[in-house]
Each structure stands twice: as C-alpha cells, then as structure tokens.
C-alpha cells in the first residue's frame, strides 16, 4: 500500500504552485519551503523555474542555498524596480562610497593639518597640500560600466516620483 505521507502538506513552494506532487529528489524542495510561497513566486516570475533549476544543477549542494538567496534578492529588486533592479542599489552604494571617500580625504587632510601644526608649533601656510590628498585607498567596485547607470537612475527616479 502506498504511503500517503507524500501527499501531505510537505510539498515545496514550487510544487505547490504547480499543483504537483513533490518528489523526494525535487531540486527546489530544500530551498523553497512551503511556508515561503512568495519567495519562489518572485524567483519564478523573474528568472523562470527552468532557468533556476539549470543554475542549481550546475553547482554543488553546499552552494545552492546561497544561490537561491541571491536569486531571491535579485528577483525582489527587479520586481520593485523593473527598469534597474539591483543596478539601482549598486548605483546608490557607489555614490555613497564616492561621498565617503571625499569626506575621508578631507578628514585626513584636516588631521594632517593638526598633526603638522602641533608638532612643528608654527603656522602652516601650505594649504595647497590639501588639494593633493589621494582618494585611491578605497577603489569603488565596478566603476566604468556603472557610471552611465548612476546618472540615469537619478533622472528616471526623479520622474517616477512626480
């Protein structure tokens, strides 16, 4: 007699969505639990279940949980911002990083000013030195390609908020 346990509510979110029986070797089951239906729905909407399963099959089991979480993150971002998805977040972080680099350079210049003045005990007229403080200690990730998105993201989102 067949066990009826396979027909219990242990179906994963994917099989629940497709209204099919969830088999023991279902590739989605370990990562899309039945109590997280939205997670799978979002990933499926953006990437498609077929593409997700292809990605999962190509990696080791240990990596699959991280993949699923990053796909869910990207899918969420894309559904919130269909034009830029995660790129919008990256552009925002880049701008923040550039501002921080600027602030840090200024702070270091100011600190250098104090250190020089207090140690020498004389007025430091070399204010031109502050212009040459390097910004390169924290090279911002993914520069060139992102520059065009950074500017356009602002323009588009300003329009969207009107």
């Amino acid at each position: 007699m067949r066990s009826q346990e396979a027909r219990s509510t242990s179906s994963c979110a994917a099989c629940k969505l497709w209204k099919r029986r969830c088999t023991p070797n279902c590739i989605f089951a370990p990562h899309f639990r039945s109590d997280e239906p939205k997670k799978f729905a979002k990933v499926h909407k953006v990437f498609g279940a077929s593409n997700v399963s292809k990605i999962l099959i190509e990696v080791t089991e240990e990596q699959r949980e991280d993949i699923v979480n990053s796909l869910a993150y990207e899918a969420e971002a894309r559904l919130r911002d269909p034009v830029y998805g995660c790129i919008g977040a990256i552009a925002l972080l880049q701008r923040k990083m550039i501002q921080l680099q600027h602030d840090l350079a200024l702070a270091r210049a100011r600190l250098s000013l104090y250190a020089t003045t207090y140690s020498a005990g004389i007025s430091n007229p070399e204010s031109h030195r502050f212009r040459t403080v390097a910004l390169g200690e924290f090279p911002v990730a993914c520069g060139g390609f992102m520059d065009s998105f950074s500017q356009t993201c602002n323009e588009v989102n300003q329009d969207a908020h009107i």
């Binding site: 953006v46 990437f47 498609g48 077929s50 593409n51 990605i55 190509e58 990696v59 990596q63 991280d66 993949i67 990053s70 796909l71 990207e74 971002a77 894309r78 919130r80 911002d81 269909p82 034009v83 830029y84 998805g85 995660c86 790129i87 919008g88 977040a89 990256i90 552009a91 925002l92 972080l93 880049q94 701008r95 923040k96 990083m97 921080l100 680099q101 602030d103 840090l104 702070a107 270091r108 210049a109 100011r110 600190l111 000013l113 104090y114 250190a115 003045t117 005990g121 007025s123 430091n124 007229p125 204010s127 502050f130 924290f138 990730a141 390609f145 998105f149 588009v156 989102n157 300003q158």
Partner: protein, 149 residues
Amino acid sequence: MSSGRCAACRYLRRRCTEDCILSPYFPSNNPQRFVSVHRIYGASNVTKLLLQLPTHLRAEAADSLYFEAQCRLEDPVYGCVGLIFMLQQQIHAAESQLVKTQAEIAVMKSQGQNPEAQQAEQDFNNLLLQQSDNDAALSFPNQVSSGFI
C-alpha cells in the same frame, strides 16, 4: 530576409517581425548579449518585462538585465549581489575610518588651542568654502534611486 533578424530571433530561429519587441535592444551585431540574457532570464520573461515598461525606459532595462546576467554568469552563486556585498563592506570600512579620523581630530583639537593652529584651521575652512562654491555648479544629486537597501 534572414539577415534582417535581430539577435533574439536569430537565436530562437524565428521570423523577426517589424514590431519585434526585442530587436531594438538585442541587435544582430551582438549575439552574445542576447545569449547571456536568455540564459539567465529566458526570452519570454525578458519580453514580458519589457512589455510592461514604457518605451523610453526599455533600453535601460535591457542594459541592466544584461549587466545582471553577465554578473550571474561570472559568479553563479552571488551574481551582482556579490557586488552589493562588496560595496557595503567597503562603505562600512570607510565609515569606520572616517569616525576614527574624526575622533583623532577631536583629540588633537582638545590637546591645545594655540593661535597658529586656529589660523591654520580657519585657512583650511576657507579653502573648503572656496572649493564648495566652485563645485556648486556640478552639484551631484543625493536622491535615492532605489529604496531596496
């Protein structure tokens, strides 16, 4: 006739019609662009996504999909989320450095207020004001592009 097909229709082996939604963004001279996007998102999902957007935003959307697809192909585990993590870490490190430097400045200032130091600081502040006036024309916007993070 077949030479007029866009990269998408060529890859999918179908006729490329005049109103093909993918053809403006996946030209035939860059087949790899469509292959990357199709591998990660699938042509059907890309088409649905572009269809829901106004025409003037579709080019940016296609570019961002391509960028994310490339990130995912290069890093199948984290994709472009890996970049976000890296930037967040860099920002955290830079913020820590900034706080530390500002604390050192506060210590230096408290150690002694002599006229030379005060003059030097005033010169420094004046210089900053001058530079900020010069930069006013450039003024980069601070608006948030995405509330996701």
